[in-house]
Structures are given as C-alpha cells and as structure tokens.
Amino acid sequence: MYRFSQIFKRDFLNLIFNPMWVFNGTLFPFLLVLVLGFLSSGSYEISVTAYDYYGVSMMIYVIFNSATISSNSFMEEKIKQGNMRIIYSPVPKSFMYTSKILASFVFSSICHLLVIIVLHLSLNVNFGGTNVLFVILVLLLFEFLASILGVMFCCIFKSENTANQILSIVINISAVLGGLFFQLGGFGKNVENISYISPVKWIVTDIFKVIYDKDFSYYLPTVIIIIVLSIAALFLCGKFYRTEDYI
C-alpha cells in the first residue's frame, strides 16, 4: 500500500503542478457556463434559467472531457519517461494504470466540485437543493468512469495522441446527442430517440429529473450502469495494458 500511495501521490502532484490542467479543470468550465448561459439567457424561462441548464450540462461535458486528463497522466511524453521507472520497479503491473486513474479522478473531482460551488454561489445555478448530494454522487461516478476511459483508450491504442483524438470524437458526439449544447426535442421524435443511445443523455435526464421533479426513477439504473461500465472499462485496461507498449 505504501508503494501505491507513493505512485498515487506523484501522479496527483504531476497534475496539480500542470497549470494547463488546473485551468482546464477550474476556470474553463466556469467560463463555458458563463458564456453559454449569457448567450442563451433569452431562450430560457425564469424558473429554469440558461445558467441552470448549462451549469449542469456543461459540468457533465467537462467531466466527460476529464478522460483526456487521465490519458495525459498515463502516456504524455514528458511524464512517460519518468513513469517508465515504475515498470522496472517491484510493484504490481496494475499500479501503473490504477494510480493514474485514481489521481486523475481525485484531481478532476476536486476541481469540478469547486466549480459547482462557485457556479452555485455566483450564478445561482440549481444543483438540486436538498438533493444536491445525489446529483454530486452521479457526477462523481461519471468522473470515475471518464478517468478509466481515458486510460483504457491509451491501453487499447498504445498512444496518447490517438487515444485523445478518438476520445474527442466520442465525447463530442455523445455530448451533442445527449443535448448538452442544445436540446434535441425540437428536431423531432426520431432524433429524440436516437439521442438515447448516448449515455450522456441518460445522465443528464436523470440529473434534471432529480433536480426539478424530485423523480428518482432513473437514478438507481443510471448509477448501476455507470458502475458496470466502470468495472468493464477497468477490466479492459488490465486486458490491454502491456508494459511492452510503454517502453
């Protein structure tokens, strides 16, 4: 456990001391909500403001994007050189990717929780009131899944660049289908149905139901699906990770 904690600490510090990732995890989401909320303020009602909508949807978007943070901490060229010594050291092979996943998850979670607090205090974004903990739990689970996906794509494609390019496509298509940038209701029933293939859609629907309808009917299935997907992705990391591809 001592050795794992040392690797985790190093991975976490590598992220914290990277100003780009700190910006990406804190200021960027706040600005995204601020700009989109301001530009769309005329299209939303007073009860559910544009800031309320984009506050939640953009948090889901940036959380999904944190997959690129874990892929970076796993295979970014500068960090990879130091990471190579972990392969040579007497620690289990799985420490290599699990510590990156955990460090990225903790780093992103801290950043995004701070953004949620700031969004609530400054723009009065509604994150569920008394049900806020349920909303945060789903977001954290999704954060964990995203962190695993970043590393999993690296393990499969053996390259951070390829992993990030593919992740970017997957994230953005899922985000559009999930209605994170604009709602797809106006595009007809067929488009609405197609949008349900995006897991983002289930998450955003579930969270809005919890916040505005106090409806928890989607909650448990969503949580279970995220957990199952996380376990499957973690299994695939173990299956595809080969030290040969790293050196």
């Binding site: 050795r3 007497p90 040969e244 790293y246």
Partner: protein
C-alpha cells in the same frame, strides 16, 4: 564464482521477425559484463527482457539458480535499471526524483533520507539536489538517471547505453562510478556501442549481432582467439630503397605495403620476426625513424567477427 543470472535459449519475436535467436549466457557475481554490438543487435531487447519489461517467446531465466517468470517482484527488488532514455520527471527536483523512485523499492523514513543523500553524492549532484531536472545539462541528467537506479543498493545494476550523447567529463565520471560500484560488490550488466568504454571497464564481454551471441569472453581472450594478426607501422627516411618483396620471405608475414608514407607489415601474432624485418631494412641502408606495433583492439575483433565496423 556465484552465478547471479542464467539465461537459457532465450527467444524473442517482434511480430514475425525473430530478434533474439535462442541466446544463452551467465552473469557472475561481481563482474562487469558488457554487451557489445551495433544498433539492432538485440542488446537492449535482451536487457529489457531481464528487467521484466519485455516478455519472450521461449527460454528460461534463473536468478541464483531459481527460475523466474516475467515481472518477478523479488528479482526486480534486486535490480537497479539505468534505461537508455533519461527516465526522470523533469518538472521536479533531483531530490524529489530520487526519493520517489527509491520509495518504489520500499525505502522510507530515515533510510530513504540517507540513501537519497548517498545517491546524490554518487551522482555528484549534492549541490543541485533542490534544482529542477529541466535546468540540468545532459550529463547531469545522465548522472541522476544512474543515481535513481542505485539508491536502493541493488545487487545487480543493469545499464543500457548510459553514456549516450554526453560530454567527456560526465562520461569519465560515470565510468569511474561504475568501477567503484563494482568494487563495492555490485554486479553490473552494461550495454554500449562505444568500444573504448568496454576496453576500460569490462571484466567480460558478450558480442551480439543480429540477435545472436557471436563471441564472449574477457577482452584479452577475445583478442587472442579471434585476431591472429598484428601490424608493424614503420617510418623510414627513404621508402624508395625498400623492396617489399623481401618481407614476404620472412616467416609469418602476411602483407607488406606502403600506406600514407609509412611501411605497414601485417604478420601473425604467434611468430617472433621483428628482428628479421629490421635486418632487411638495415641491409637496405634505410634509417628507421619510428616503429609502432598495433596489436588487436576490440574494434578489430568486432570487424573480424561481423565484417563491419561497430558504428556502421
């Protein structure tokens, strides 16, 4: 002498290409075993298999007569690895790098502090302990790269071309550190394609080419067994008076020619014939200004074995 590592019939493929072709060798306690060979010979692949970073198709590896599998953690605990690439976190200090990598071998507390200081001293970086690695010169990074491998006092130190691209002072520092570590009892496996490094530090050499071991032994043994020639380079005042044909009548002479204004005579190593060669020159009324005898170098050993120069 105690056998630290035994490798038997090791084979490794990359896709359909066989890059290690059934090699076998032993590593004895306390020796500096140098792997010599051109790029692509299979040195680094062999080393990476030993470190557990690469798998292999067939063969066996033993550590102190006990068979080990890929990634054996007890074996890894005894290894110190100096990879060919500089494997450090550049955005943190030398000390932080050392502390982190030493902690992966279970060092903590007072012991970790002492070993970190000791490794910094070995690398000659005590003064630079608190400086970030990205401010270091190439030579300093190379030295720190080595320090990170020795902080946990490994029994076996594996160094994969540790002096690539550095200044002569840093190279000398590294080579003398390697010798000191051997004196303290560390077994060292060292790969390089710099012949002069092998000449300076090796106690035994394995020469590899195209995934095979083509020769092994001490440098003296290799020179004796593989290169049968020595060359006399003689500077004389008047080359026109020299009749090259006369030298071929002397026992052992294989070749006599004039090259770069000097007389070059190649002769078998086992035959003592210098007096006769000098006599021919004296009888021809030629004044000898200088005479050099060039015995076999590892470069000539390599050339004889592979038909190419090491850095080709």
């Amino acid at each position: 002498m105690e056998k630290m590592i035994s490798v038997k019939n090791l084979e490794k493929n990359y896709k359909s290409k066989k890059v290690i072709k059934g090699i076998s060798f032993n590593v004895q306690k306390g020796e500096i075993l140098c792997f010599l060979g051109p790029n692509g010979a299979g040195k680094s692949t062999t080393i990476n298999i030993l470190t557990g970073a690469l798998g292999y198709e067939s063969g066996e590896i033993f550590y102190k007569e006990i068979k080990i599998e890929k990634g054996d953690r007890k074996f890894k605990q005894q290894l110190g690895i100096v990879p060919q690439e500089i494997s450090l976190y550049e955005d943190i200090t030398a000390e932080q790098n050392l502390r982190f990598f030493a902690s992966l071998y279970g060092l903590k507390g007072k012991e970790l502090n002492e070993r970190t200081d000791e490794a910094l001293e070995i690398a000659g970086l005590t003064e630079k302990a608190k400086d970030r690695v990205n401010t270091f010169s190439g030579g300093m990074k190379r030295r720190l790269n080595i320090a990170c491998a020795v902080a946990h006092h490994p029994e076996i130190l594996i160094m994969d071309e540790p002096t690539v691209g550095i200044d002569p002072q840093s190279r000398n520092y590294i080579l003398s550190s390697v010798k000191k570590m051997r004196e303290k009892g560390t077994t060292i496996i060292y790969t390089t394609h710099y012949m002069e490094e092998v000449e300076e530090i090796s106690t035994r050499i394995i020469i590899m080419d195209k995934g095979e071991i083509i020769a092994s032994g001490t440098k003296e043994k290799l020179k004796e067994e593989i290169v049968n020639d020595k060359r006399f380079v003689i500077e004389v005042d008047d080359l026109d008076k020299v009749n090259l044909e006369e030298f071929y009548n002397v026992e052992g002479v294989k070749n006599a020619k004039i090259e770069g204004g000097k007389l070059n005579i190649t002769t078998l190593t086992g035959v003592e014939n210098l007096d006769k060669l000098i006599a021919i020159l004296v009888n021809s009324s030629v004044k000898i200004n200088n005479l050099n005898c060039e015995t076999a170098s590892l470069e000539t050993v390599f050339l004889n074995l592979t038909g190419k120069k090491l850095r080709d």
